[in-house]
Assembly symmetry: C2
Homo-oligomer: 475 residues x 2
C-alpha cells in the first residue's frame, strides 16, 4: 500500500535513438559555451508542465542565438540522424518538449529580439524566443497590443508551434489568425520564408498555417511576423456570479449568438474560485463566475456591457462588479491566469491532467454539464476554467502522480469528455496541441485517412524523422 504502484497510463513509449559522441563534438566545436551537457540544464529541458515524468532528458542543449545557429544545429543533427526538439520557455502541457526518442534540445530563448514594429501596418516581426509579455511591453507605448495570452508567459515561437490562443481569442482569434509570415529552418537545415506582411494572399500553399500548429515536427520557427492591434479606446471588465454553471454557460451562449463582440468571456467554477482566492488573496465571491472584458469606443463598450448585463440578469446572474481601472483589470486577469498554479498548489505534490475540448457554442452546455457531473462523481479534485466564449474549457484533474488508480480515473474522465466533444462536432484540443498526450484522441477525431495525409507530409518534409519525433501521431 505504501510503495507507489507503477503508473502505466501516462508512460509514453520511449525509444532513445543513439546520439553519437561525434555529433556532440561537432556541436561543441561549432557552439562552444552555447552547448551544454550539464545534467541540470538537460533536465530542465527534458520536462514541461505535462503529467509525464519518466522520460530521460535530451543528451545536450544548444542555446541558439541566430537563425544560422538553428540551421547549423539542424544540419549537424541531420547528418547523424539525431532528433532536434525546439524549446522556448518549457510551458507545454502536452509533453511536446520531452525527448521520447532522445536527441538534442534546441533552446531559442536567447533569440529574443523584437526585430521590427510596423505600427502603421499593425504588424511586428520578432524572434521566436520573445515572450508574449515582452512583446506587449515593447509595443505598449505605441498604443498597441498583442492579444494572444495562453496563461503562461510563453515564447511566441512556442505559441505558434502549438497554435495557442487564450482569453482574447473569442474576439481576436488564435495564432492561426495572427501569424502573417514565418522564417523556418527545414529538416535539411535550409532557411525558408513563408507569407508576407500583406494582410491577405492567395500565393500558393499556405505554408505559414501548415507550420503554425505543427509542434516543431516540420521545421524550427526562427522568425515571426504577427498582427498587433490598437489598444482599445475603451476597456471595461466585469465579474458576474451565477447560482449554477448552467446559468453562466447559457449567458455565454446567448452573448455569442447575439453577435456581441466581447473581448473575453471566461468561466471559473466556484471550486476553482476558492483555490484562486487561497493562492492570490483576491477575495472573489466564491460562486460560479464569468469574467468578461469589453473593448471598443466608449459608447460601444457601454452598449456591449448593457446587452450582456441584460442576458446575465435573465439567467440569474448577480452582482455585476466592474473593474475599470487598469490596476483592477490586471488583478482580475492575473488571478485568471494563475488559476492553474493556484489549483496545483491546492494539492501539494499533485500533477494536473488538463482537458482541452472545444465544441460549437450551441453544444457547450451539453458538453460541459455532463462532464462536471462525471468529475464530481469521481471524487478526484479538479479545477474548471474555460474560454467559454469559444466553446473551449479545461478541467484539470489534480492527481497524485504515484497513484495508478487516480491516473487511470483521470484519463478515463478525459476520454469520456473527448468522446462527448467529438460526438457534438468538436475537437479534442482547442489550444494546447496534441503532443504525446492526445495522439490517440487525434486518430478518433480526424480519422485514419486524415492522419495518413499528415504522416505523408511529415515523411516528405522530414525524411529522417529528426524534428521533434514521436509527437502528434505515430509514424
Amino acid at each position: 500500500m505504501n510503495a507507489p504502484s507503477t503508473p502505466t497510463h501516462l508512460l509514453p513509449e520511449v525509444h532513445q535513438r543513439p546520439v553519437p559522441p561525434a555529433l556532440i563534438e561537432a556541436l561543441r566545436a561549432r557552439f562552444g559555451a552555447q552547448l551544454s551537457t550539464a545534467q541540470a540544464v538537460r533536465e530542465q529541458h527534458g520536462r514541461d508542465e505535462s503529467p509525464f515524468t519518466n522520460v530521460p532528458p535530451p543528451a545536450a542543449v544548444v542555446f541558439a542565438e541566430s537563425t544560422a545557429d538553428v540551421a547549423d544545429t539542424v544540419r549537424l543533427a541531420a547528418q547523424h540522424e539525431v532528433p532536434v526538439i525546439p524549446f522556448g520557455v518549457g510551458s507545454s502541457l502536452e509533453g511536446h518538449l520531452l525527448a521520447v526518442q532522445g536527441g538534442i534540445s534546441l533552446d531559442v530563448s536567447r533569440m529574443n529580439r523584437v526585430l521590427a514594429v510596423n505600427g502603421e501596418d499593425l504588424t511586428v516581426t520578432v524572434q521566436p524566443g520573445v515572450t508574449r509579455k515582452q512583446l506587449n511591453e515593447a509595443i505598449k507605448d505605441l498604443g498597441l497590443f498583442f492579444p494572444i495570452d495562453p496563461g503562461a508567459d510563453a515564447s511566441l515561437g512556442g505559441m505558434a508551434a502549438t497554435r495557442a490562443s487564450g482569453t482574447n481569442a473569442v474576439r481576436y482569434g488564435t495564432m492561426r489568425e495572427n501569424v502573417l509570415a514565418l522564417e523556418v529552418v527545414t529538416a535539411s537545415g535550409e532557411v525558408i520564408r513563408t507569407g508576407t506582411r500583406a494582410k491577405k494572399s492567395s500565393a500558393g500553399y499556405d505554408l505559414t498555417r501548415l507550420f503554425v500548429g505543427s509542434e516543431g515536427t516540420l521545421g524550427v520557427i526562427t522568425e515571426l511576423s504577427l498582427r498587433v492591434y490598437p489598444l482599445p479606446e475603451g476597456i471595461s471588465a466585469a465579474i458576474c456570479s451565477f447560482p449554477t454553471i448552467a446559468d453562466a454557460v447559457q449567458t455565454t451562449i446567448e452573448t455569442i449568438q447575439l453577435g456581441v463582440p466581447i473581448a473575453r468571456c471566461e468561466l471559473i467554477d466556484a471550486n476553482t474560485v476558492k483555490m484562486v482566492n487561497a493562492h492570490s488573496k483576491l477575495g472573489l465571491r466564491e460562486a460560479h463566475l464569468l469574467l468578461m472584458e469589453f473593448h471598443g469606443s466608449p459608447s460601444s463598450v457601454k452598449e456591449q456591457a448593457e446587452t450582456v448585463q441584460a442576458i446575465a440578469h435573465e439567467n440569474h446572474g448577480q452582482d455585476f462588479e466592474w473593474a475599470s481601472t487598469p490596476e483592477e483589470r490586471t488583478r482580475l486577469w492575473t488571478a485568471r491566469h494563475n488559476a492553474y498554479f493556484a489549483a496545483v498548489q491546492s494539492r501539494p505534490g499533485c500533477r494536473a491532467i488538463s482537458t482541452d475540448t472545444c465544441v460549437p457554442i450551441s453544444r457547450l452546455a451539453d458538453c460541459l454539464l455532463d462532464s462536471v457531473a462525471e468529475a464530481d462523481a469521481s471524487g478526484i479534485p479538479y479545477f474548471l476554467v474555460g474560454h467559454v466564449g469559444d466553446g473551449n474549457f479545461h478541467f484539470g484533474y489534480l492527481i497524485d502522480p504515484n497513484s495508478a488508480e487516480e491516473r487511470a480515473q483521470a484519463e478515463a474522465l478525459n476520454h469520456q469528455l473527448v468522446r462527448r466533444a467529438l460526438t457534438l462536432g468538436g475537437t479534442c484540443t482547442g489550444e494546447h496541441g496534441v503532443g504525446l498526450h492526445k495522439m490517440d484522441f487525434l486518430v478518433e477525431e480526424a480519422g485514419a485517412g486524415t492522419i495518413e495525409v499528415m504522416r505523408t507530409i511529415k515523411r516528405a518534409l522530414d525524411p529522417k524523422n529528426i524534428l521533434n519525433p514521436g509527437k502528434i501521431f505515430q509514424l
Copy 2:
C-alpha cells in the same frame, strides 16, 4: 501588319498527356449520361476568365453528383495517370481550369445542396457547387449572411480552392478565415475530413488551410463547413468622391490605421466609374470614388461613419452620399461587382489582364500611385478597382488579344507592379490565386526554397501528378 502577330507571352506550355480510350470507356460505364465528350461541353470547361486562349479543351467532362462520384472519377483517372481538373462555375481569372496537360474536367456544379445550417453556431455545411449567392439566399431568412464575395457568383468550392476574398474581407477575412472544415477526395480517391465545426483547434496539422488555396492540386473539395454571420442590425453605405487617387488612398490608410471596423472600403478610379456608368446606367459622379459600408449596431454605424467622414473631409473628400435602403446598397455593390464586365465591354473584343497585388496598408499609396503613372504612360486602356482597405487592388489592362505588343506591354506593367509590391513587403496575389499566370511571380515572392517545400508536399500527396497539374509551380 494586318495578320495578327503570334503572341508568345501568354501561351502556357501545353504538354498533353494521353487520355486512353479505356479510361473514357470506364467513365462512361460508371457515369452514363453524367459523362460528356461533346465538343461544346468540353470547350465550355476548357476556358475561364483568364487571358489564355490557346489551350485545347479537356478530353471529357464528368458531372459529379456526389462525393462517391468524385472519388470514383479520381480513382479511375489515377489508374490511367490522367489529369483531373475540378470545375465550379468557370470564373477563374488565372487559368486554373485550363487543361494544359490534358485530362478530364470534373464539374461539381450539380453538387449544390446546402447540407446543414447551424444558425445557433453561425456555421453552415455545403456541397462545393453551391454558389455564394445561392448560400446567401438560403440563409437570409434566418438573419444570416456569408460575407465573401469575389465579384462573380463563384462556387464555394472554387472560392476555397483559390482562397478568394472580395469587398467584405477587410472586416470578415477571406476564405482562409471562414472555412472551418472540409471533406476532400485525395489523389488516390480516398475521402478524408479536415477540421471540425469548433471555432478553434490545435489538433494536428492544419490540413483545412493547406487545401484552402491549393487550387485543386492537392485534393478535390467535396464538402465545406463555413462561418456565417448575423446580418448586422445597422448597415449603411456611402460614396465619397476625391479630386485625386492619392486623397482616396490616404483616407483609406487613415481609416484602417485608426482601427475603424469598416466592412467595405473600395476604390474605383474616375476612368472606371465612366465605364461602370456606361454599362450600368448608374449616374455615378465621374470622379475617383471610395465606396464604403459600415456594419454594427445603429450607434456604432453612426460613430464609424462620422469618423470616416472626418478623415475624408481632411483629405479633400466631397459629396458624401448615403445609400441606406437595401435597394440603394444593392445597386451600388452590383455596380462595383460589374466593374470588370463593364470594363471589358468598353473595348469590344478585348481580354483583361488583371493584376492582384496586395501590400501592407502603409505602403498602399507607394504601390498604387507609381503604377497608375506607369499605366497612364503606356497608353493601354485599363480599369482600376481596389479592396483598398486590405491593401489589395486590381488593374485590368484591356488588351487586344491578337496584339503581341499590347500583351507584352501589359505583362511588363504587371511585372513592374509585382516587383514594386514585393519590394514593399506585399504579395503578387491577394485573392485570385497563382494558376498559370503568376507562377514566375510566385518564385520571386516566395523564393526557390519555399517553392521546393510546396513541390515536396505536392509530390508526396499526388505522386502521379494527376490533380490539376501544371498550376502554381512547375514540378
